[in-house]
Structures are given as C-alpha cells and as structure tokens.
Amino acid sequence: MEKSYAEINAKIKTGKAVVLTADDFVSLAEEKGLAAAARQVDVVTTGTFAPMCSSGAFLNLGHPAPRMKMQKVWLNGVPAYSGIAAVDVYIGATEVPEDDPLNSNYPGEFRYGGGHVIEDLVARRPVRLKATSYGTDCYPRRELETTITIDDINEAFLFNPRNAYQNYNCAVNLGSRTIYTYMGMLKPNLGNAHYSTSGQLSPLLKDPHFRTVGIGTRIFLGGGVGYVAWHGTQHFPSIQKSPDGKTLGPAGGTLAVIGDLKQMSPRWLKGISFVGYGASFAVGIGIPIPILDEEIALYAAASDRELYAPVVDYSEAYPSRTPGNMGYVSYAELKSGRIKVNGKEVPAAPLSSYPKAREIAGILKQWIEQGRFLLTEPVQLLPSPADGISGKALKG
C-alpha cells in the first residue's frame, strides 16, 4: 500500500478523503490492526496547545508623515526589536516592559509581555505604539505616539523560530525549596511533576523520522493557516532508548513556523505569565500527517503507552546543565496523574492542554474533510535522527 500526496489531495477535493484525529487513529489501529488502518485512512491530524516561548511576530507599521526610521519601538510599553528596516519591527513573546519589577520581588508575576501584545493585536484590540529616533534627511521624524490595531498596519505575520517541541522533559524538584520555572511551580522533595506535550496527539511525536513534516508543510497555526518554514532552533532529533535498549519514542525535534497573523484567532494565541520565570505565549498548532505508507501509519499509531518523557530535576541537574535524566515515564502514566520517581509516588500535571489539542486536531480534520485545506509535499525534508545532530555547549 502506498499513496502519493497527489492522490490524497484528489480525494480531499472530492470530499472522499478519510481523515482521523491522532487519538482516534490510535484506537482504530488497535482495533483493526495497523495494515487495515493504514489502508483505510488518508490523513491523521495532530494538535498541541502549549507554552512556546520562542515565538514572535514581524510587523510593518507603515510610515507616518513625515517619514520615520524607527529606532526604538514600544507596543503597550513592551519593547519591540527595530534593528531592521525603518518601520519593520519584531515583537518577541517573552519581552517584558522595561519597568517590570521582574524577579525583584521574588517570585515575580510577569503580568504582561510580548505574547500578550500579540494576543491583543490578533484580538483586534487597540495597541499603543511609541517610537523614537534620531532623524535623517530621508526619515526626519524623531518621535511618535499613536494607537494602532492589526488592521491599521501593513503586514503582521507570526514567525516562531522554535515551536512544537517533539517531546519535553517531565520536570521535578529534588531540592528542599519551592522553585519557579518555565515548567511552572515545582514543589520541594518531589512534591509534583509537570510535563508539557499532548502525548499521542502531539505533532512531532507522530513523525519521529521526519518523513512527512518538512519545509513548506501547511499547518494549523494559531487558528489560521501557517507553514513550516524551517527546522526550529535546537532541532536535535533522536530516538530515546532505555538502558536495556528498548525504544522509547522520539525527542528533540522542533519547528520554525510562519503564518499571517491577521487570519489567526486569540482563541489559539494567548499571552501567558509564569510566576517567577517570565512572560510567554501559548500557541495552537496542528499538523496533518499523510498516511503515505504503512511505516508512516505505524508511527502515527503510537499510543501514550509507547511514548515517553525523560524525568529531569530542575533544582540542580537542569540549571547546572548536568547531562542525563532520572529515567523515563510514559505519557499513559503521566496522564494517569501519578508517576513513580525514585520509588516515590508523585502527582503529575500537564502544562499543555490535552482538550485544546484534541479540539485543534478536530478542527484540522474538519478543514480537510470540507476540502478547504490541501496537503503540501515538503519542498525539502528536515534533518532526522539519522543525521545525528546534537546540541553544542556554550563556553564561558
């Protein structure tokens, strides 16, 4: 059994494509067997809605009269990067106002940041724009204060350099005091464990060898349509192995994604605050996986019982960059709400919304069934575990 992108798209256009969300595909493969499920289904839809710090938007604000080469720019008091052309800026998700108390009153609240600015823009709420400059012959204006909405400016596109982490640590705290991390508040002495993927619904857990997700893959991004632009930063895909050689699912892959912010929705892009850590952004992403052959189907059918997260201590091992982990737990165990770490029972909670991930996979399924969303064959595939890329440590 082999199918091509063209064949699947032809079926989508005539409304005959069989599309299943990843969790339904897992059940179907368990019930009917993999071969039958692979024959029957054309596309499997995945989803994730989780904090994704490495996100931001490029905006072209348009020129005022007289013209201005904006040197410093603030949106609702949050600095935007303007070291590019005159009225182009990049607003990054984790940027916070210069007068934010940060962690001076530990743990800080980080109530408003770049992610909140993007949410306000996409919600079509007015945003205060302030810009200063030094003035040039062609761009004389030195100061500007005004209010904009997303519809008043030329372009607004999301460009997130690292999203959709393939897998993520299950974070615990072995220390004796509460710590505040990007994995949430971790209580001392293994008081809780936090994980952050949607497990069997998560896009890159279902394509461990990057056989289908590549440059140009059309995706659900923030409630609208987006594209995979590149592999993400820190894209170090690998297959996890237990000490006795058992395969524990993939980890390490990431995506850079892009899409027109003007057609996205504040329902799927949310500014968030991590107490004691900083401001961030929750992004909704859904990726379709074409079932081109049985091997792709096999990976797409991986269940929460076959996908594992490494348990990592955030009190000491993570901050000091000590390699290794404290073992692996399956997503089935994590979702049960109790895991065993060092022989102790620890309550586990997600930071990634499973109900929202399922909703995204469902919306994407609907788009495809309605013929509104065709699959794209990647222009180029991304590095896979076979390429053996690993992270570099910074000297200093």
Binding site: F49, A50, P51, P107, E109, R111, G184, M185, K187, G191, N192, A193, H194, K270, G271, I272, S273, F274, V275, S280, A282, K335, S336, G337, E345, P347, A348, A349, P350, L351, S352, S353, Y354, P355, K356
Partner: protein
C-alpha cells in the same frame, strides 16, 4: 465576640501533630472545623471558625509551629472563558478543588473543596482564577 474564619496550611512535617488540640486547650478557644483535608503528599489545609479571648495568642502559637495562617474573607472563582484547560494548577491546588477529569483531561473547579489558599491565583498562566470579594 464574632467568630473569625481562618485558613490554615500545614507542611507534611507537622500535619500529624496535635496542633488543634493544643489550640483549643491552651488558648481556650471554641473551634469549629469547616473544612479539613490532607492530600497524598501529607500537606494539610483546614478552614476554621474560632471564637475566644485569646485568638491572637492562638494565631501566634500556630505560626510558631510553622502553620501558615490566613484570614478567610474571600471566595475564589474561575473565569471559564479565560481558562485554557492547561492543567498546570491541578498538582498545585492542595485540596483537589482544581482537578483533571479523565479521560477527557478537562480541568474542573469545585468551589466546595477550595480553601482559598490563593496558590492558583499566582500560578495560573492566564490568570483565570480570581478572588471574588
């Protein structure tokens, strides 16, 4: 004298000590336990109504024992529109008032189990949990 409502939070090291007994006996207080809960991590929370002349002394005694004491004047509500159902509050809430329903993994809030410790106010990334005065 009007009774005072307070919330007590105990760490696992003291949740098995006879603190309330001493509070009643040594400070001559009338104590009415409205809610009490010890979670699997042995962290205890309790909502009390207390009356007596030595309330302040009793509160100092509790603090000396390492109990966190807070006045209960408020109610916690969830803004259902804002909540993104991430689940991040469910292993933090000490009483299980915020919990995951399985297998849907939807986050539910049961105000009856809430002891107004206010932990969720800080840790909810979208500030969906609010104090209602």
């Amino acid at each position: 004298m009007a009774p005072k409502k307070i919330v007590l939070r105990f760490g696992p090291d003291i949740s098995d000590k006879p603190i309330i007994y001493r509070l009643v006996k040594d400070y001559d207080l009338v104590v009415n336990i409205l809610k009490a809960n010890v979670n699997p991590q042995k962290e205890g929370t309790m909502v009390l109504e207390i009356t007596g002349d030595q309330v302040d002394g009793g509160m100092n005694y509790l603090r000396d024992q390492g109990v966190q004491v807070q006045a209960l004047t408020q109610e916690i509500v969830r803004d259902e529109e804002r909540c993104i159902m991430c689940g991040g509050c469910t292993a933090i809430c000490p009483t299980g008032a915020l919990y995951l329903e399985r297998p849907s993994m939807e986050v539910r809030f049961d105000g009856d189990n809430c002891v107004v410790c206010q932990l969720c106010l800080k840790i909810c990334p979208v500030r969906a949990m609010e104090v209602k005065l």
